[in-house]
Subunit: 163 residues, 2 copies
């Protein structure tokens, strides 16, 4: 699959919402649920600083990420990021492409480290991807995620240095 990344624009809003609303409905990887509205999602996605990127393949928007400060002010040198991969693009290198690109951008933006606050422990492909990209589990958050199918499951705080 040939993947092309570019920075997101407000015009990508409907395609981003199609991507993420499907992920939220799955209920297995992301905290926002079916009660999330398009407007609140997009306000959050574009309104918290940092950079937003989309990935196109086969003429469609099939992936996206945002990288931004995890905390304001005295904690803003540590990034966080969120990613979405369309179901039809999974297992085809999209996650790796987004992850690799986002680490490059985070480093270029001057962040000292990057932290994911809620990686669902049962999301094996994500955990494997992030470990392969140099992340470590700093904490296991007990039963922090209510999985749609499995019920309450642990989540990981994952972190890596960018220095």
């Amino acid at each position: 699959m040939r993947i092309a990344l570019r920075q997101a624009t407000p015009e990508d809003g409907p395609a981003l919402w199609a991507l993420f609303s499907a992920i939220f409905a799955e209920g297995t990887t992301y905290a926002p649920d079916e009660q999330t509205s398009e407007s609140s999602f997009l306000a959050d996605w574009f309104g918290r600083g940092g950079e937003q990127w989309v990935a196109e393949a086969e003429g469609k928007l099939l992936g996206a990420y945002t990288v931004r400060p995890n905390q304001p002010g005295r904690g803003a040198h540590v990034a966080t990021a969120s990613y979405g991969v369309a179901a039809e693009a999974r297992g085809r290198g999209m996650g790796l492409a987004l992850g690799t690109h986002s680490l490059e951008r985070a480093r270029a933006l001057g962040y000292a480290a990057i932290q994911f606050n809620l990686v669902v422990s049962t999301n094996a492909s994500a955990v494997k991807l992030w470990k392969g990209l140099g992340f470590q589990v700093l904490a296991t958050l007990p039963l922090a995620f209510r999985h749609r199918v499995l019920g309450p499951v642990d989540a990981y705080l994952m972190w890596r240095s960018l220095r």
Copy 2:
């Protein structure tokens, strides 16, 4: 010191800002820095759900906290909280009063657990307070806080069950 707690109202805005802007200027315990505006602080304080409380003593507003979901949707059963104690009220039981009350409220609101995302490791009185109230350090976030005096220092993710 006799401390009385009540729920905050929008009319408490100026006193809350006086309390927290002084804490932000100290630069030793909180991520927001001197660039934080009153309007953005108050929008954040009152605009993220949960409950906001203030503590009065000696006729003045000398403490405050907010308790709210740490994540939306499938993570909203875990609370987070933020606290502020005026300099003149420190070492006089205010932190313990706010902390104890907030745990009671969090339990009453049905949260399963509570998590603090950025407890500055050099803030010894806070770390001692939270450990005394049953919190444990789940992660040490390397150099996650830029202390105004000490430079980059570690921060803790602290957690306790409410069940």
